[in-house]
Symmetry: C2
Subunit: 338 residues, 2 copies
């Protein structure tokens, strides 16, 4: 292994000088800098991460806490992960995957063993048991999501309440007076997932304000689940004419089942989907969508983390404003049978 001493010898300087050239923490004569950088390149020197962590108490690693549940929205999750990783690299940081199956002890281990400098936590619940644990750790933590009581932890998320409002308003403006929400799987609600609750709240409230009749129905990720969910919704009288789908996983099945039931989109039913950006494209009718910007959320989470590590900022809750991207899946409701 090539060490800092090798580089120092090769460049004819002391190892501390090499260290300073690399960190930029003190001024170096152009000539020295050049020689050192040459040697670094020529020898293929890479500082030993462990040694560096030991001496500087900084690992340059971010711990990303990932849910392992079967009922999560996989594309959204992957969107976060890639966004976090690429953003972290911009700040010279690597990303370590931490799963939840070690429980709180896993978080303590990673933080207390100086394996990571900070923790990013995904899939946050309303009353998330990890919140108190995170407060007790010697490192900053940023939540992707919004628990009831974040205390002094930073949070980033889409403003799901506003997103729901946006969907309702869009349908209401088109003239829909009876709408329905196809929600996430019951399991997601049962564990009090933060975003699901906030979306449902926003949906219900906005509908009330608009004097729009609204029903909502969780939807399990199976063909039978989708059918049952649609049965429930279309049992309403008169039938809802607008659907808000907050469940990426069943979208395909749902659209296909609507067609199977002889309901055309958007002639008979309007559909707004909330989900990853790609959601729009794959269907016969391009969908009206409120994109879930996992990219921006991940990037923001990393940036907030970096500010906290630098000490240039402290905890903060940031809710990103939703956009509605019009497609051809929403239109005015069919004329009422008189």
């Amino acid at each position: 292994m090539v060490s800092i001493a090798d580089v120092a010898r090769d460049a004819g300087v002391s190892s501390s000088t090499v260290s300073y050239v690399l960190s930029g923490k003190r001024s170096i004569s152009p000539e020295t800098r050049r020689r050192v950088e040459d040697s670094v390149r020529r020898l293929g020197y890479h500082p030993h991460a462990g040694a560096r962590a030991l001496a500087s108490s900084r690992t340059n690693v971010l711990g990303l806490v990932m849910p392992l549940r079967p009922d999560i929205d996989v594309p959204v999750l992957m969107g976060f992960v890639t966004s976090v990783v690429t953003s972290a690299r911009r700040y010279q940081h690597d990303v370590l995957l931490v799963t939840n199956d070690e429980g709180p002890e896993g978080l303590r281990r990673v933080a207390n063993s100086a394996t990571a400098d900070a923790l990013l936590v995904m899939d946050v619940e309303t009353a998330d048991p990890r919140v108190p644990v995170l407060h007790s750790l010697p490192c900053p933590a940023v939540l992707v999501g919004l628990p009831d009581d974040p205390g002094s932890l930073s949070c980033v998320d889409l403003d799901f309440s506003a997103a729901a409002r946006r969907c309702v308003e869009h349908l209401a403006e088109l003239g829909h007076e009876r709408i329905a929400l196809v929600g996430p799987s019951p399991a997601v609600y049962e564990r009090g997932t933060s975003f699901a609750d906030r979306f449902l709240d926003g949906f219900t409230t906005a509908a009330r304000q608009r004097n729009t009749h609204a029903v909502s129905s969780p939807c399990p990720p199976s063909y039978e689940g989708v059918c049952a969910c649609l049965d429930r919704i279309f049992a309403e009288r008169p039938e809802p004419t607008g659907l808000v789908v907050h469940n990426e996983a069943v979208l395909g099945t749902l659209l296909s089942e609507l067609r199977g039931r002889g309901r055309r989109v958007p002639e008979d039913v309007s559909v707004v989907a909330v989900g990853p950006g790609e959601t729009t494209a794959n269907w016969p009718v391009p969908l009206t969508t409120v994109p879930l910007p996992s990219d921006e959320i991940g990037r923001t989470a990393v940036e907030m983390t970096m500010r906290e590590l630098e000490g240039t900022a402290s905890a903060e809750v940031r809710l990103l404003s939703p956009r509605l991207v019009p497609g051809r899946s929403t239109a005015p409701p069919p004329p009422t049978v008189s």
Copy 2:
């Protein structure tokens, strides 16, 4: 931070004894062991990862090299990732995410800076440019996939060639004489993705051996792509009666489009899908499936890595045998119009 010296003091032993209690590398009297373990628990001691890495030249971290392409199969990828992470934890290892956008230099950085002990590489291509780089690194690497020339690197993957054969045989045994492959996106073929090639090979060869007429058609992940793909397939005369879908992303769209074209599954067309296990469930007709066992592949990759790190095994190529899980989407072909 609580260090090994703190524990040693608290337990009334030397720090080397604490180290040995923790590593189990030499025998310790029961009494001493108890006292040390007590102190560890009471003080909440976690060994400093960097210090440990520095002293032992082992980081207990696995680098997982992840593709960032938009055209990968996300659920499959996530399956690997979770499988790798949970398997690694069984061996006391953490997983660091490495993306490809740093290029080969990223691999060198992670390996040469002693950030990870080994590399697991996903999304391997036929002539993968990373293979020579991996050979030059001071740490073992395991490929998920099978390049043309793996040299001395370990590989794990589903035997895609056998998987295709299995699909063809299943359809042939039911009596289908004309079949078609709905393949991955053209982009996947263009970059010479290992599994896509091997599947196509197996498909073509098996069909020839069975005297079955076969066409294959890559399928871009969009509604138009699916339509074009089906147009091409059903332009054959007589029309194919069996479809093998090796493209998880378009499955929903494809099934819905088949229905839209008035083709019933399995009465008019039989469908076999290759993909993650969940693939089966979400459709009106439970699909006949050849599962892609990301779980087993990930676990195997980790185990092979561990063996190599221990030095108890060397490079090896392991191709897992496919299973075919019968559903209700395959049946004998409709009687020929005479």
